[in-house]
Symmetry: C2
Subunit: 140 residues, 2 copies
Amino acid sequence: MGSENQELRKAGLKVTLPRVKILQILENSERKHMSADDVYLALVESEQEVGLATVYRVLTQFEGAGMVTRHNFEGGRSVFELTPEDHHDHIVCTSCGKIREFFDEIIEDRQVEIAEKLGFRITDHSMNLYGICEECQAGS
Amino acid sequence: MGSENQELRKAGLKVTLPRVKILQILENSERKHMSADDVYLALVESEQEVGLATVYRVLTQFEGAGMVTRHNFEGGRSVFELTPEDHHDHIVCTSCGKIREFFDEIIEDRQVEIAEKLGFRITDHSMNLYGICEECQAGS
DNA sequence: CTAGTTGCAAATCATTTGCACTTGC
DNA sequence: GCAAGTGCAAATGATTTGCAACTAG
């Protein structure tokens, strides 16, 4: 259970209760993609209230440390996920909000080639598909 | 010059001064991608002040009519561009903000295949690369 | 001890909305 | 003339920040 402490130290962050708690939430939640508010609510439910401002600060620090990745999907708010070993992209259901991940070697390769051709040294990319998932197509 | 009026009527929008002005800005600006604030400032410069709220309203109406496309790049604010005939994606320089467009048939095809495989009826997608452009690599 | 961290409330930023006033047709 | 459109200011929602109180090492 102290594994979080190692991770935090490795990231050069002091081990504090809010940080440990937030890391646990991210690791144990069934939802892999959470907004700052989702994390905050999960914290409240688990009896460990932490200020929303701190949630934002900590998530931003985690992002800076590379532990967490921030996504800017359509609709304003950011969602965070533990930085995955294996890179992947997302497909978001615009009806129910479900997020599915995928990885496609061909697309990844093309992205690099394209960036090179245009003279860019690529640092990051986001590729998100938006649509209606099976259940929602059937549902409504 | 009255071509804007045609476009507006075709979109079912009453021809008003603010709408015509905003459409002209979008058509004539050398920057193809503008935030609501960029449009507002251009309006101010051209002596035709229009309320910022109206700029937002009009851009949203244009988007609804399909005349304009909204992009949510990293960093909060939305940028708009006249909906292009030919679909394309974007590569953004995180240093100077320059935006380059590109289109890749292979990627487009893969996106559709992937969405199908996952059971999604795709309605939209965004694929943005972020990096440092040649000039900025040389510059700093 | 003391620099780093947190909580809370106030501040920001982008965007939206309520409402009285104006304008296109 | 009247419904649609607009301006302005106030409301909103997400995120950030100032600052005094707290805590890890």
